[in-house]
Symmetry: C2
Subunit: 332 residues, 2 copies
Amino acid sequence: MGGDHAPAAPLSGAAHFSLKPECPRLVLVGDARLIAEILGREPHDPDRISVVDAPQFVAMDADPKTALDALPDASVAVAARLVKEGRADALVSAGNTGGVILACARTWERLAGVPRAALGAVYPTEVRHGEKNDPFSLILDAGLTLDVDADTLVAFAIMGSAYAARIAKNPRPRVGLLSNGSEAKKGPAAVVEANARLSRRSDLNFIGNVEGLDIPKGTADVVVTGGFTGNIVLKMLEGVAETMQSLVRTAADASLLNKAGLMMLLPALKELKKTTDWQQYGGAPVLGFEHVCIKAHGRSSPRAIKNAIKVACRAIDTQLVDAIRTGLSTSH
Amino acid sequence: MGGDHAPAAPLSGAAHFSLKPECPRLVLVGDARLIAEILGREPHDPDRISVVDAPQFVAMDADPKTALDALPDASVAVAARLVKEGRADALVSAGNTGGVILACARTWERLAGVPRAALGAVYPTEVRHGEKNDPFSLILDAGLTLDVDADTLVAFAIMGSAYAARIAKNPRPRVGLLSNGSEAKKGPAAVVEANARLSRRSDLNFIGNVEGLDIPKGTADVVVTGGFTGNIVLKMLEGVAETMQSLVRTAADASLLNKAGLMMLLPALKELKKTTDWQQYGGAPVLGFEHVCIKAHGRSSPRAIKNAIKVACRAIDTQLVDAIRTGLSTSH
């Protein structure tokens, strides 16, 4: 029921994916009448799709706490319970981000050793990463946990590394701790302490502190930071992309020479846009719970939904949660 | 004696500027023998230049504290004392940033109501600012004060606004508080508290919280944040510029069509580079002391040095420190 194009886009993504051999069994949680109506129009494999009726939902612009307090059987809460009860293995949603995370937090146990959960996000970088040679780095936290202590930063590093190793097929992802200087002693106390502790771990490919300069470059495959800075970094990258597009438009309008030059660059610009398309990635992981949750972007198309489901499958197949649990238990 | 091209670049900038009618009297602090030798080769007005011999200096890569402890008569410390004693009105340096700031902190009084000093920095934005229509916003702190409380953020806002009003000729600069959401309640406790207090002030043009998205856009003329986030933001902008240049090079090498397109865009790219050239700005203010200090970039050319001196003159002529003092005394 969630997402800017819901329920059509999520259902269409699920329906089309159900026809592929690699599709898992899908449990669609939402208004059963509406789901039946939309599925009736979409080719799908009925043997792979079951429906759980949950007509109430957290609206995209609702305050998560108010909405979930008022609607304990909202679709996202029902879906989280299905996972807790073992009737589903992972939760995928394109709905209200705060609602998804709060539903997880209220229903699922946090892993031992995780002081606070994290929301990961991928962003395009100059260099490529992992076996798939993909142009994305993972940054966490994206805005869930604003104030972080050293314990939290260490847990984020362990979780981000385990996720990147599995999802980006990057067996030894380079993990960097975001700070205001590359030296180990640079940064607020929590960052300095986290650097010292991460440096002692042999199970992580910890490359030390990384700086703002390293973010667009992609020096680290996993960038660890608190949610305040992580949110600002991610929104800045969005803003830079918007500013670039606006500069290109202004340049094209300013002279015919500019316009001709940009026309010639069109294939290169399109290729750049294609390789940095977040839709190929699918979703942002909510990390730190006993179960897998993939938050697809609110703007998700059917293709992005399909990719989010694939990411969730891969997290389950590669036993992401077990790997994180092991990493956390060898914390010292 | 400071800067990557010192002493030649600072001396050449000072020498050439001394021939202009608007040049103030300059006190050059450094190795008198070396200064005489270099000035001998540069056209300059000897009536406007005096020299104070201070042959020791803080090296660009030195640890500021170690260096200043060992060299109490380093040129930057001598210069700060000249200002304190009223023998000069402002300090301009392209030297070791930490050394400049520590020399100020050890020699000058902090203004009442300023818990911690701030280093301002300008960066290019999409929109133009102030009467000069210049493409820069000011962000503070740039990395001097990592952890900030509400008092510090409010003081930064007052100082940044007073500076932008005078230097960017922007009588009512829009002041934004960087956070992870535009709503007043978004952010860590210090940011929420600072937002509430800034909202009550009629002497500031406070536009509320701004987000990462607003940084490249230039929504605010003055962006207020702690030094940890400010440093990461500024280095990210540098990194984005480097990544863009590298993408352009890669595109030019990849195909003749790309190369031709980029050739056509060359005038527009050059214009963009020119308008966003930090050298036209001159320097970064160290704010929060009883005196004016302008820190020119380590890479400063003679032209950048001249512009840093001009900024210092303007800060004195427009009574920047008095304006900040007044703003701070009406804090509640």
